[in-house]
């Protein structure tokens, strides 16, 4: 009898300990995520008549959304941004770094620290640093670099805006991909390599027949995490270009912000948010199912 009440008291204790954190996450993340769905069905606005009294408009926002070339543009820009920086750029450079650091090279710690450095920089400073790198005119750092190869000075953020933000995000994310892929490489048993060498396998064969297949789960995990985080990027691109010029770098996060707080259409902005939420939740569920995440 006493034991039972003790147990019951303990269970109550766990719930009480959980409550404050849950309350905060519910108020600022979970409830807003659901609230976005109901807001997307209204004509809510920051200014004007609808700001006083918004009304239910059904799926009109979504009708407008799917007929809006700017929305499709934003979706396309986001896709290119994610594939260019997370799937290709960060992955290839991070994998290359991880592989090279597996070899018996000197100064591993220094290389490691240098590659990690960009990841530690706050988003705003990233924008600040790269605006100087991309500065136009012959004194811009990048322009001076490409001048060695005989390339004329460019206005990078105007001529190649999407490529520019892809380069910046690649720069920032090499560290993460390197660290994750290094831990994957370290978990491949060494005797497989030794056996392959004894059998006379070449470096190339070892890489494609052993390293790559053994790394598949890690690569999959990397692809998932980097896709989801790149999808959620805002500050990095906003400080560099604010979505411009002419919407060419308007990734979904910035499109939501611009529609809601620059064009003042909260209801319409919320409908874009719903699309973004649905996409990321689908990705998340695929991940939880596919990896059978241990909890």
């Amino acid at each position: 009898m006493i034991k039972l009440t003790f147990e019951a008291r303990r269970q109550l204790g766990y719930r009480l300990m959980m409550a404050p954190a849950l309350l905060l996450m519910a108020a600022f993340i979970v409830f807003p995520a659901f609230y976005a769905f109901s807001l997307s069905l209204t004509d809510d606005a920051l200014l004007g008549f609808a700001a006083q009294e918004s009304s239910f408009v059904g799926l009109r926002n979504f009708e407008r959304l799917f007929g809006d070339p700017l929305f499709w543009n934003s979706l396309k820009v986001t896709l290119i941004f994610v594939i260019g920086s997370a799937v290709i750029g960060q992955f290839l450079l991070g994998f290359a770094s991880a592989l090279m650091l597996q070899r018996p090279v000197k100064y591993k710690g220094i290389f490691n620290a240098i590659i990690c450095l960009p990841n530690a920089v706050p988003e705003m400073v990233v924008g600040f640093l790269w605006i100087s790198m991309f500065a136009s005119g012959e004194y811009g750092t990048l322009n001076r670099l490409v001048a060695w190869f005989g390339v004329e000075p460019q206005q990078w953020l105007y001529t190649f805006p999407l490529l520019s933000i892809i380069i910046v995000n690649t720069w920032r994310g090499i560290a993460f991909s390197m660290i994750l892929l290094t831990s994957g490489l370290a978990s491949i048993p060494k005797d497989i390599y030794e056996a392959a060498r004894v059998d006379g396998a070449t470096d190339n064969q070892i890489f494609w027949r052993i390293t790559v297949p053994m790394m598949m789960p890690t690569i999959f995990l990397y692809m998932f995490i980097s896709t989801v985080t790149t999808f959620a990027i805002f500050g990095l691109v906003y400080t560099l270009s604010r979505g411009g010029p002419a919407n060419s770098t308007e990734i979904l996060g910035i499109y939501i912000y611009n529609q809601s707080f620059t064009a003042f259409q909260l209801g319409y902005g919320a409908s874009v948010a719903v699309v973004s939420l649905v996409v990321s939740m689908l990705l998340g569920m695929v991940y939880v199912k596919a990896l059978k995440v241990e909890v």
Binding site: L22, L24, M133, G284
Partner: protein, 313 residues
Amino acid sequence: MLTIVRPTSEGMSMSENSASFVAQRRAYLTLILISLFCLMPFFWVVLAAFDPKASQFLQIPAGITVDHFWNLLANESGVRWVLNSVGIVGTATLLCLVLAGFGGYALSRTQAWWKRPLLYAIILVRIVPPPALIVPVYKVMLFLNEWVNGLINSLTSDVEQQMMLSRMFSFVDGYLGLILIQCAMQLPLAIWIMKTFFDAIPKDYEEAAALDGASQWQTVRHVLIPLALPGFAAAGLFAFINAWGDFLMPLMFTSSPELQTLPLGMFRAFLRVDAIDYGFLTALAVIYTLPAVIAFAFARKFLTQTFSGGVKG
């Protein structure tokens, strides 16, 4: 046997040596190129911060000076941005640690029906892209803001006190709102980290302490907290790094100059294209970046441990 193996193995090691020499050179070349790419943007900010004639361009400094850093102390807005950032992010991190400590412990120890659904929910909450929340969060904050300001106005009729309290406790353009939202955004990862660390502490320790007559509080204070210290370090470092670098929430919820934090203050100073003081801004960028770099150096070894939670810190 030996005589047969020896020559072949020597012959192999010869070719292997030259092959590994090429491979070794390729490894260094790759690493040096990637490192240069990573370092390149930093040269400008570091040089310009000490250059009396700092400009937007990478240049050989006209001299070396620490004036820009001294000027920061004399510059009212620079000092305020730093203090606001430290205050808001520091409080948010501490609050996050307390809540995640309790939450992570409960989540680790309970066997109740809500354990599994809650863990999955936390993974999904981690994945919610913050930009998708801005409109509804803005509405929630407005609602809470009206409520708090109504409360303040009913508590005191002194206008100055009202202003002061409102600055502290408002949800829009006030300290409390920014602290709570920064904390909430970092909670899912922090809870996850704490839960994994508590999982690694055997329940026996607590039971042994209880058997020895320790009270609940003594068990927590002398057994659990010391053992979970690395977890608190990891959770705190990631919460700090993420909140310190966050740009979106300050952009959404601060407008008055007194409340400006580093990211937004610097961004707005940088937008005044006609009057950018590069010496001031680069020095400030160095000050803003250093805590994040130091925290990251400590957090780096925990980074792989957060992967099981699905999303990077």
